[in-house]
Subunit: 232 residues, 2 copies
């Protein structure tokens, strides 16, 4: 992977730039290096030495910037999941109906998994670790705001007779599960169904399938929807 | 976890029995011990020494029965996923319409995740490992037969005007993703949404939600379905 592809990845855009200086610049370089190595290795093992070698940074800087490797990975998860939350804030700024918002949200989630194919593995490792602080951090910064957004969206859709009554917590698991497993299970995909790397057209079909399944799953079937609208 | 709870788990029913003898009996005891320790530790680290200590078996028996720890875990995955495949064969033996079969299948998948909460982690580790044989084995024994079953079920439902036209490979990822992520992400659930262990009533609500979402996702909306039936 060429270094300049990073310029396509907004959360790390400043990594190669001249804006950040000193420890901040090193912090960004370390995050960008970890990102690149995780992409290259499909989420496999990446050591502190690998990251520092790739970033051209002294190993001591990991301790200085993040306390340890777990702290570095935590910062990487934070950077990516805060992008998920920013995406829903941007969606809220648009004057869109709830079904269209939900659809665009799912497209965004899938595109984030394409961009950061290792994020599931990092999150799963964090979930499995014995560190309650890490899990609580992920809960506060990602799960709770996203669940709250689903709650508002569902309420809006139900009020307009468009959505069935659905538990926002369960929708949280459904949306993320539908989107993440396709990427987590890519080795199985390649072993069982399709050789070679995930193509752009395969991702397009997956997005179409997933948004169709989810919207059919959430929407009130058409005749009831028409009746609900008339009675308003 | 008491030893005798294993009797509730069909794949390991013979572990405590008198039927199996010698190496076969040890093999079963090691699988049952690995299962129990993985359940106890929520899929966390379990060593060969732990397993042998729990099974009351000599460490050399792991080498003899499974070559190594990976082989033991592979055998455990096989045992569980072959149960998934047996479940769909049993469903096929019943005279049920495609939507009812799909619904019962999802209930079965979720119940298997409840029974073997560590299976995702074992499978994910295998998917992430550099071992193409393990992935191919999982593909041949689990993914391909399950995808073939979705293919037949979808064809049957589409022919009867009940199901939308859906790619069976993508349905494979959707069903498993919807079912597995809820269990994989339980630490997040506890950190963000609900304290304490997963209750029976929470699992019941999750099953209801998941089967509702999936059937609404797959079924042709009612008015079109009625038209399709009339034109048959």
């Amino acid at each position: 992977m060429k270094r300049d592809t990073l310029k396509l990845l907004p959360p790390f855009a400043s990594a190669g730039g001249d804006m950040a200086r000193g420890a901040d610049a090193t912090r960004e370089k370390l995050l960008a290096a970890a990102h690149e190595l995780l992409v290259e290795r499909g989420g496999g093992h990446v050591s502190v030495n690998d990251i520092c070698g790739h970033a051209g940074a002294n190993v001591a800087m990991v301790k200085y910037c993040f306390a340890n490797k777990d702290g570095l990975f935590q910062a990487l998860i934070d950077r990516i999941t805060s992008g998920f939350i920013r995406d829903i804030e941007c969606l809220d700024a648009l004057a869109l109906a709830a079904p269209e918002k939900l659809k665009r949200h799912v497209v965004g989630i899938v595109k984030n998994y394409v961009r950061y194919p290792y994020i599931n593995r990092l999150i799963n490792l964090q979930l499995l670790s014995a560190d309650p602080d890490g899990v609580q951090h992920l809960a506060n910064n990602f799960a709770l705001p996203l669940r709250a957004w689903y709650g508002r969206l569902l309420k809006e859709g139900v009020a307009r007779g468009e959505f069935r009554v659905i538990d926002p917590t369960l929708l949280f698991f459904t949306v993320l599960g539908m989107a993440e497993f396709y990427f987590t299970a890519q080795p199985l995909m390649r072993g069982a169904f399709a050789r070679g790397k995930l193509s752009q057209s395969a991702i397009k079909r997956f997005i179409q399938h997933t948004t169709d399944m989810l919207l059919h799953g959430v929407l009130v079937p058409p005749p009831q929807r028409a009746r609900a609208r008339k009675s308003q």
